[in-house]
């Protein structure tokens, strides 16, 4: 077993354990903090895949903005279900069964695919993934239109969020 495989297995176990704690912990603040550690494990996975920009964006945007937004939302809505009462609905066993079935189904579907044991080819010398990514995002031949649509979507969503959450007394 190479070092990379050991690091991958440790990262995957850490991330899956944190994800399990996110969906099962009773205290929502703890769930949000477990989400931070799961997101950090995913950032390490990006680094293992040599997607450096994605790893940095994961830490800055996901952990720095989205997870903190979750913690704010939990603190703003905390009054009514602190720790008392069931945190799972009455059909939680159905959700557990369905998610196990989805995992088993995906597992067998992937087993039957011929590309599963593919290994990564070496990154060519002098290939700069970050500048290639920047070119792809703003080049008219590539993805400038989806990029601009995503920006407009983000602006619209944030204006909508401000409007929906603003306290307007009728």
């Amino acid at each position: 077993m190479t070092g990379e495989q050991i690091i991958f297995i440790l990262t995957a176990l850490f991330t899956l354990g944190s994800g399990f704690m996110v969906v099962t912990s009773r205290n929502l603040i703890h769930a949000a903090l477990w989400l931070v550690s799961a997101l950090f494990g995913v950032a390490v996975t990006y680094a293992l895949l040599s997607a450096a920009f994605l790893a940095v964006v994961q830490v800055v945007v996901y952990i720095g903005a989205i997870a903190i937004l979750f913690i704010f939302a939990v603190m703003l809505t905390r009054k009514d279900m602190r720790d008392q009462g069931p945190q799972m609905n009455s059909n939680w066993w159905f959700g557990a069964l369905l998610s196990v079935l989805v995992f088993v189904g995906l597992f067998f579907l992937l087993q039957g695919w011929s590309g599963m044991s593919r290994t990564a080819s070496a990154i060519p010398a002098g290939f700069d993934a970050i500048s290639e990514l920047g070119d792809a995002l703003i080049s008219p031949d590539a993805y400038v239109l989806p990029f601009e649509v995503a920006s407009v979507l983000l602006v619209a969503a944030l204006i909508g969020a401000v409007y929906v959450a603003a306290f307007n007394r009728k």
Partner: protein, 102 residues
């Protein structure tokens, strides 16, 4: 070298955990936490297919970045809705948010 299958199975497991959270938590904020886990597992798949496919094509990473933007938009709107509902109904339990149930 880690084979592609490890990444895909890891992402499938993370997706299933997130799906369990979405289907079985009562708190609306916890449901959104589950959705975040599912979006992250999809992003792992996109990055893995970029790395194990043609590295010179940046499609996988571009898709992952657009998923980041959509996830940020989704969280902002979702949490704003939760806070708005909490102000009006004083609850964040998904079962009790039934104003539109006929």
């Amino acid at each position: 070298m880690v084979p592609l299958s490890w990444y895909l199975i890891f992402a499938a497991a993370l997706f299933s955990i997130g799906l369990f959270g979405v289907l079985s938590r009562r708190n609306a904020v916890a449901i959104l936490l589950g959705i975040e886990l599912m979006l992250n597992s999809v992003n792992i798949n996109l990055a893995a297919f970029w790395r194990y496919g043609d590295v010179l094509q940046m499609t996988g990473q571009v898709f992952a970045i657009i998923v980041f933007a959509v996830a940020a938009a989704e969280v902002a709107v979702g949490l704003a809705l939760v806070i708005s509902v909490y102000r009006r109904r004083n609850t964040v339990v998904a079962d009790e948010i039934n104003m539109m149930k006929w």
